[in-house]
């Protein structure tokens, strides 16, 4: 029996702080236009729900927030599978990953594929473990101290010196320049993400920011990657434009990290250029919001992930040529109140088929 592959993807909102979901969907559809895409949404107004383009979803479901835990997640996914049996889930938000890791065995028994990241490598790349990573593989990282109360935060600020960054364990960061700012940011991050909060030295140097998206094979190898320098930033430091670089030193640092962690699946490494070279400021365990840019220049990592999860032969990722660049472009999507009404009952199915089947690229899943 054969059927079209059904892939669930989260992180659908492309606001001023864009999430990766629609970029991942677009990339997958570039190679597999017939794939059925199920959106996993936390809000009625996630912008990706309203897209009729190739980054849109065929159906979407409201999900319990990650703070509800893995049992609530599994219960909801089981409900979804009764209507849309899922073959693959690609979680695209940092806060979701721990719940998915907790459910690894459940997914195996249900024959649902997810990126096979291990809890060990997930924890090793955590912001509060960057110092250990530095010691283990000799890459540069800014001075980083994890703190769980305000007194410890003040002490860390004093030790590191202002200005510095306070970061949430899973997400969020702010530059602070005074103890008063530190207190405000500390409380905000604790309220949003829980502890610890990470105090990280601001990198002194050119301040240029470099991001690398890639896909690890789980054995220490890199299946493909693309490195950019951010050339435009949003108010909160997200890449709004980037240009491909070809820096062997940066590439060497990336390969060292992936080899040490035996990373499996998508990742984003964030570096800042300091006085003595690139310093790793964090590693995200998912695709970044700009991952459809490399897909458009021959390095389609989300499609490779699908192949990897289905144990299919992988089309090698083309090296990204230095000088190719992207600039993000915002558009207004049209929706209707009836869509909000439908989704508020828990799910929505789009009547339109945004992706007519191209027989050259039908992706079939043999069961």
């Amino acid at each position: 029996m054969t059927k079209q592959v059904t892939i669930a993807i989260s992180g659908l909102h492309r606001g001023d702080n864009p999430q990766p979901g629609p970029a991942v969907i677009n990339s997958i559809r570039r190679r597999y236009p017939s794939a059925t895409i199920i959106g996993l949404s936390y809000d009625l107004l996630e912008s990706g729900l309203f897209s009729q383009g190739d980054d849109g979803v065929d159906a979407a479901y409201l999900m319990p927030f990650p703070t509800k835990g893995s049992e609530a997640l599994l219960e909801r996914l089981d409900e979804i599978c009764q209507i849309h049996p899922l073959d693959i889930i690609i979680p695209c938000l940092d806060s979701e990953i721990p719940n998915y890791l907790d459910l690894t065995n459940e997914f195996k028994s249900r024959r649902i594929k997810i990126p096979s990241l291990t809890k060990k490598s997930f924890d090793q790349r955590s912001k509060d473990n960057l110092e250990q990573l530095r010691k283990a593989i000799g890459i540069r990282v800014p001075r980083t101290i994890a703190v769980s109360d305000l007194k410890a935060a003040y002490k860390a600020c004093e030790e590191i010196g202002f200005p510095l960054f306070l970061k949430g364990k899973q997400y969020g960061a702010a530059r602070v320049t005074t103890p008063a700012e530190a207190a405000h940011v500390f409380h905000s991050l604790m309220a949003a993400w829980g502890g610890p909060v990470i105090a990280q030295s601001a990198v002194r140097g050119s301040g240029d920011e470099y991001d690398v998206v890639g896909l690890g094979d789980g054995k220490g190898g890199l299946l493909g990657s693309c490195s950019i320098r951010k050339i435009m930033l949003t108010g909160n430091g997200k890449a709004f434009g980037g240009i491909v670089v070809a820096d062997p030193t940066l590439q060497e640092s990336v390969e060292k990290v992936i080899k040490k962690l035996k990373w499996s699946g998508p990742f984003e490494l964030e570096f800042v250029k300091g006085r003595h070279g690139h310093e790793l400021i964090e590693m995200n365990p998912r695709f970044p919001a700009w991952c459809d840019f490399p897909s458009q220049i021959g390095c389609n990592l989300p499609a490779m992930l699908v192949d990897m999860l289905l144990s299919r032969p992988m089309t090698p990722a083309a090296p990204c040529k230095a000088g190719r660049l992207f600039v993000r472009h915002c558009v207004d999507l049209v929706g209707d109140i009836s869509q909000l009404a439908e989704l508020s009952s828990g799910s929505i199915t789009n009547d339109a088929n945004p992706n007519p089947i191209n027989n050259d690229f039908v992706l079939e899943l043999v069961k």
Binding site: G205, I228, I243, G274, R275
Partner: protein
């Protein structure tokens, strides 16, 4: 001649431009493929960088530059020296 380049943190702050990494695009943009930085450059700057990339000795560049722009070798030599200082070019 202008490179429109801002130097930070001393001589090059660890960001020296290596000629092998520098691409001249359409004769008006210098792009460092390693750092991802790019700078608008004048036609004369593009000329000097192209000569440097071809390993032309400085004396040869001065000579060619003075002929091309019809200026004295002394002015050409000063112009090129100032430009190289500004670019912090590592050959």
């Amino acid at each position: 001649m202008s490179a429109n380049r801002t130097r930070k943190n001393g001589v090059n702050g660890g960001n020296a431009v290596h000629l092998s990494n520098l691409k001249i695009v359409n004769g008006c943009l210098a792009f460092d493929v390693c750092s991802g930085k790019f700078h608008r450059i004048s036609e004369s700057a593009a000329f000097v960088i192209s000569e440097l990339k071809q390993q032309t000795p400085i004396a040869g560049i001065v000579s060619a530059y003075s002929q091309r722009y019809k200026i004295s070798p002394a002015i050409a030599a000063r112009d090129i020296e100032l430009f190289l200082n500004d670019m912090s070019v590592t050959r």
